[in-house]
């Protein structure tokens, strides 16, 4: 099993790292995410583009065991589709892997059952249509007008389930590469359609719907595919006793702008990996424009 990360520089640079409290915090997190995983995985791979490789590898010397600049292939895409960097990376895998978001730290090794799982996800997210940030009802007019959609979505929507599901992809991967490639290609096709075909425009930039809801529809459709989740629900993931037992941190959403957490991130990296901490500080101190390449 390989641990992999993706870093598409285009959306990151467009936001100038603003999803984090400071751009430097993002670099600290990249370093810590890698170093935590290196304790458990021999193979650690980064999928990025030339600008990302310049920053993380050439300048910061982060010790990934392999670097692939495959995300140059998507440089022409609208970076509002930031999840495309992940989806493209999923689609390129040819052996079992787990993709780790750069705001995820594995303090403990993933459970052994993950090493054989068809699909790996962080946790299922259950929700009810109409009262959630997920809006899968966007697919319904497309189905009604008989435009193309993946069979997986059509079947899932036709079930009219009161409780729907998505999959949180802080970690995502698995051993069923045919399944993963198929899912990723369907997602990319939907992204393409949202950019070129009017019926699909409501899907535009709805990154989590396409990445996380679409994955759940594929899991639902392929009943022989057995997913393994680190937590069995969103509530479980946010339960401190369960995250402690799993040895898992995900600075999800607004956590990346929590000053107290960023202080802990600084301290942790400084204490445990001072060489990375110092290199990042040196780089950012002497290159104030580094996030505006």
């Amino acid at each position: 099993m390989r641990a992999i990360w993706s870093f598409w520089s285009k959306p990151y640079l467009a936001q100038q790292g603003s999803t984090w409290l400071s751009p430097t915090d993002h670099l600290y997190s990249c370093a810590l995410s890698l170093e935590c995983a290196r304790r458990h995985f021999k193979k650690t791979e980064l999928y990025t583009d030339d600008a990302g490789a310049e920053l993380l590898i050439n300048k910061l010397k982060l010790p990934f065991s392999k670097v692939v600049t495959s995300l140059n292939d998507i440089s022409h895409y609208d970076c509002a589709w930031w999840t495309l960097g992940k989806l493209h990376t999923y689609s390129k895998q040819s052996s079992p892997f787990v993709h780790i978001d750069n705001d995820v730290y594995l303090w403990k090794a993933l459970p052994e059952r993950f090493m054989r799982a068809d699909i790996i996800g962080q946790n299922p997210e259950y929700f009810q249509t109409g009262s959630s940030w997920y809006q899968p009802e966007k697919f319904d007019p497309i189905i009604k007008s008989q435009h193309w959609l993946p069979d997986e979505i059509i079947q899932y929507r036709e079930q009219k389930l009161k409780t729907q599901m998505a999959v949180c992809c802080g970690i995502m991967g698995g051993s069923d590469l045919n399944f993963i490639k198929h899912y990723a290609k369907q997602a990319i096709k939907l992204i393409n359609y949202s950019l070129t075909k009017k019926p699909y425009q409501p899907l535009y930039a709805d990154n989590l719907l396409i990445e996380q809801y679409l994955l759940a529809t594929h899991i639902n459709y392929n009943r022989q595919c057995k997913p393994a989740y680190l937590f069995n629900s969103t509530d479980a993931a946010f339960d401190p006793t369960k995250s402690k037992a799993a040895g898992f941190t995900h600075l999800i959403g607004g956590a990346k702008r929590n000053q107290a957490l960023m202080n802990r991130l600084h301290n942790r990296l400084c204490y445990e990996y001072p060489e990375h901490y110092e290199k990042i500080n040196e780089l950012t101190a002497h290159n104030p424009d580094i996030f505006q390449l």
Binding site: E54, C79, I188, D206, L208, K256, R257
Partner: protein, 75 residues
């Protein structure tokens, strides 16, 4: 493991260092039936556009949760 050279192509071309990276793959991809090369160029690079489109959808989703994130106390 093969080692190949990747020229750094930073947008503004201020940098032109040459560094080594490992295992750079072919640029071509095989995303059939949708080939990336057939796709449109960026339509709306502005993040403002992104946020305006998603004000009511998933972009802001996790803001609703405790901002300690998941397992933030382990950090």
């Amino acid at each position: 493991m093969k080692v190949k050279t990747v020229a750094n192509k930073i947008k503004n071309n201020h940098e032109n260092n040459t560094q080594t990276l490992m295992d750079k793959p072919p640029l071509a991809n095989n995303l059939e039936p949708e080939k990336l090369s057939d796709q449109p160029h960026a339509q709306a690079d502005s993040i403002k556009n992104t946020l305006s489109v998603n004000d009511n959808s998933s972009v802001i989703k996790y803001e609703m949760f405790d901002n300690m994130g998941i397992g933030g106390e382990l950090l």
